[in-house]
Symmetry: none
Subunit: 199 residues, 4 copies
DNA sequence: AATGAATGAGCCTTCATTCAT
DNA sequence: AATGAATGAAGGCTCATTCAT
């Protein structure tokens, strides 16, 4: 009976610790020591498992992205109509475990971080593309391809903009509104596109 | 006849230098020395005029906000209909001098910075409120008050989301699209609200 | 019938690994991990067998010294005249297995290390004394005792100086020259001492 | 009356401090803090003036080399015969201010350091070449060119070997002997070469 | 009005070493 | 016999900030 390796556990703990530390610190200037402290280990161990700060940060981003994907895939599968698939994407973005304070402020830091880290920038590009294509795929079954792309781009930007508002510590409308806002955006855009003659 | 003080000039130069430095550096980790270097003065002088880094950063934010306001007011005045006023706000946000790479990446940094600086957070709150109220005031003349608020919130978030996309160094649609996207959002939302029975 | 212990094998492997690692690294800053890696074992094992880095390094020096002695003794025995005994010592110092890049750069590191490790310094003293006495013993049969000591000291220093030149990574004359240089030194010194009228 | 810049003074102080620190520490692992401490300034200042540890070390080497050259040139000029020029070179190498404990152990560290620093290696190559050519130039006026080169190489190696012996903290013959040893080497070698031809 | 000089505090990172298994 | 896991201690380096000039 081989002793189970603790490596995956430590890695996961450290990535969660990074997200927690980023949030608590108000994100700017998170220290490796702080992150390690959150995970209850020494800074040296974080280095040992990730090789450096940049890699830990990027791994944490990827961690978040993977979670997002893990959540969106079954939701898309369960949806029966194109319109429901769109809602599935929106719901996933605003699901409590994605749209909590901690995660949202981590995202903001990641956005910022992408300005100086190529790896982080690459990861964000992937995220952007995935969100947009998830939306566009469903939209193309409801409106023409040009409209689909434009509405998808708008919805994706709207989602990010709402994240931003909730990420910045400043009086923002209650959480519930965010989802409603995007749903309404979709409805209105579809209605308008329909009028032009769609489906 | 007092010799005109160079203080205001130095202050303005330093704020512009901060924005330029933030952009060039990819925003993360701007040094006081770098900023001072951009302005062609010593780091000690920047301290002398602003008292510290935080204050210089916040002053630069305020500088940007003031510019925004300076631009939006005459545009609002020139508009003749409520719908034109809305476009005036949108146009100002996406005007070349506001929506250039330099400014956009500075904004992203400020958003991030607001997580740890109360002064910066306060400033962002002001900006959010102003953008939203500018839009809501015009919208209230076209749709009911609830709809107006909601559409304003959506448009504001959409604008910020688009800034974000262009701020992050990652393949984003051409600049022109951004404005069109928001205009369309407004049109569709108005059409939908109208149908329900408006003004 | 006791199973033969692997301990001596591991120890020898680790000492050779230390020398190899020192050479490859350009000597400065050899890590215990690197040394262990060269021997194909974990750093913890190196500790287990040697008790610490200093002891491993010193043991490796002693290892080299033992090899030197193992080589010089039969060579001295085979020599028939005092002059041949001197050549035997010189030949041993410049024998291919002693005068290769790896060993030479290890020596340089050991010299350096002796500045901060008493054990290493002691070992070097032994080496110096042995080299010098090996030479002096033979010389005393050819010239007077004072001359013998002086020539021995000169030859020993010359050998070390040549090691140094080849140890430092910088354009040095071809290997063959080194031995010839020392032989000639001996010849010239003997001729001069003889002329003065010796033994 | 411009305030005289302290930069050259600080730089010189720091280089001397580096040499002193290297010696006191037994050379291995000199800390920037230690060096700065010797110079009576903060470690940050050493960084400010030299940019990093490597550069400070290399600058200190160059400092020593420059001193050596500064001393040898007038000595060479004052010499009247080729043989005196040779003695001038030897005397400079063993002059009290060059051949003191502090400088000698610094040299040993530099030799070691050259294994991992290209700049240091380059500097040593220059030193080697200069010492050898200073000797060879004079020797060529006394013996044939091949002999001159060989004797020069031998004398240079001998000088380095003697430095080594005195640099390593181990019972070595009194300082005075070193110079005598080299002078004798030259005399004997010249006599032998002469035998082939001169006197 | 402006700056060169200087520093304290802190961060990332490395590494020898220990220990439970 | 051997190692993965973990850490404390320390080092190089950066940077905002202060101060005398």
């Amino acid at each position: 009976m081989a002793r189970p390796s603790v490596e995956p556990i430590r890695r996961r703990d450290l990535m969660n610790a990074a997200i927690a530390a980023i949030h608590q610190r108000g994100s700017l200037d998170v220290t490796m020591s702080e992150i390690a402290g959150f995970a209850g280990v020494s800074p040296a161990l974080a280095h040992h498992y990730f090789g450096g700060k940049d890699q830990l940060i990027v791994a944490s981003m990827r961690h978040l992205l993977t979670e997002l994907r893990t959540n969106v895939i079954p939701a898309l599968g369960a949806a029966e109509t194109p319109r429901q698939r769109i809602s599935a994407v929106i719901n996933t973005s605003f699901a409590p475990e994605q749209f909590d304070e901690k995660t949202v402020s981590a995202w903001l830091t990641f956005y910022h971080y992408a300005q100086s880290s190529d790896n982080a920038a690459r990861l964000l590009t992937v995220y952007f593309a995935r969100l947009k294509s998830n939306l566009a795929d469903a939209l193309r079954q409801l409106v023409g391809p040009d409209d689909a792309l434009m509405i998808a781009a708008g919805a994706a930007a709207l989602i990010d903009g709402l994240y931003l508002r909730y990420g910045v510590r400043t009086g923002a409308p209650p959480h519930g509104h965010a989802r409603a806002l995007v749903e309404r955006y979709i409805d209105d855009a579809l209605a308008a596109a329909d009028g032009t003659g769609a489906v």
